[in-house]
Amino acid sequence: MKALDLKLDKIKDEILKLHEMAKDAMSLCLDAMYGDEEKRRAVSEIEKEADVLNTDVDNDCLMAVALYQPVARDLRFVASIMRMSANYERITDLADKIAKFRVKKRIGEDELRLMQKTLLEMFDVVIEALEGNTESLREKLVEKDDLLDDLYLKVIQKGKEAMKNQDDINDALIAIFSAKHLERSGDILSKNGARIIFIEEGRRVWIK
């Protein structure tokens, strides 16, 4: 069905775009938090654009369902993309939250940077899957997701220690919140990975 294919191609382009936006936001947010005003504005811009694009994707998917009544892979694709799109939008939200923090002291910076790096690697795994290679996607995501969980615990530990010093409580809380947002973003991205497996193979898997 030519008309449906064109619509699905458009939706696919949009989800790839959203993926890139979420990744960009995540790659900028820590520098923003550590004081880079330009990156802070950039993340905020991305967050707003992602909101709009997510609404477009939602609308396109609904229209595809209403007009073409997709089935089989097409149905799995459309239904999953609606979720995935909302998930990417949520990730830009979390990046924006991190970017809006301001710290005096960089508590747990090494761990946070490593969390960010791991998350960006997860984005690459997911994009490869979106482009058709789902081989050991689940395993790769689980491994990185576990690493994020470990690092999150480490940041909590460092934060707790830092809190012994009255003056650092605020920065310690921010470090913990940021780690929480990064860890959460990893979960959400894993869910998108699971969705891609569902689209391609019709299997429902849980990553987490």
């Binding site: 069905m1 449906l4 009544q69 997709p70 089935v71 089989a72 097409d74 799995r76």
Partner: protein
């Protein structure tokens, strides 16, 4: 097990021919009681032939041949009187085909009359009951003596359904029952199918994939005389096992 759908019709190793041409190849499939099974597949794949085998219409053709087993409630239809098989397994065709010279009333009563029922009260009751089940009663109750052909296409199709119901069948076969109807009439027939499955086992041949999705519990996908895939409608529509089914359902065959 109580509450579980049981097999109403079981088809085993069914082969059917028109002369030398083999139209059905080794079909195996079970149709569950009180469910709607949709038969899907491209033109010429053997859908009509298949359902015509079920009520032994296929073998009426002089060049027809049939092999294999068809069980109705566990008993071979080939060991039953063909007339009895056709009473138990009714059929509704693509084009509404009321008997042109007969009134609405007689179109419904004809099967019973042919079976020797003469009691006017009994006939009245069955006619009313069948027309109600076919969701046509309110539209025709004041003009039962008008010719069946005076009705609209959609009404005629429901009349044919009433006619099929009147002889109290257990299974009703529908061969593209809505393809000649406007969307509103088609929806009425679809609603009716869903109502009917409470009392009957329904098999419907359709070219309308979405219709199969809307009304059926199971789908069977045929391709060049073979059964490619059979399963629960929701499962087949979400995730067909066979690539051919996927290609057909998504309109990418060819």
């Amino acid at each position: 097990m109580a509450g579980h759908a049981t097999d109403k019709i079981v088809v085993r190793n069914l082969n059917a021919w028109y002369g030398d041409f083999q139209a059905l190849k080794n079909i195996n499939l079970s149709i569950k009681k009180n469910t709607i099974t949709a038969i899907l597949g491209p033109s010429g794949c053997g859908k009509s032939t298949f359902i015509r085998c079920l009520n032994r219409l296929h073998e009426l053709r002089s060049d027809a041949k049939i092999e294999g087993e068809i069980l109705l409630d566990g008993k071979s239809v080939f060991n039953m009187d063909p007339v009895e098989v056709r009473r138990k397994i009714g059929m509704v065709f693509q084009r509404p085909n009321p008997f042109p010279t007969m009134s609405i009333y007689d179109n419904v009563a004809i099967g019973l009359k042919l079976n020797g029922v003469r009691d006017k009260k009994a006939l009245d009751r069955v006619v009313e009951d069948s027309l109600k089940k076919a969701a046509l009663w309110d539209e025709v109750k004041d003009k039962l003596n008008m010719p069946g052909t005076s009705l609209s296409g959609g009404q005629q199709q429901r009349l044919c359904i009433a006619r099929a119901i009147a002889t109290n069948p257990e299974v009703i076969l529908f061969d593209e029952p809505t393809s000649a109807l406007d969307p509103i009439s088609a929806v009425k027939i679809e609603d009716l199918l869903v109502d009917l499955k409470g009392n009957y086992t329904v098999v419907i041949v359709t070219h309308n994939i979405q219709q199969a999705g809307r009304v059926s519990d199971y789908v069977a996908f045929f391709w060049m005389g073979e059964l490619v895939e059979f399963g629960k409608t929701a499962e087949v529509f979400e995730n067909p096992k066979e690539e051919l089914t996927e290609a057909y359902l998504t309109g990418r065959i060819g």
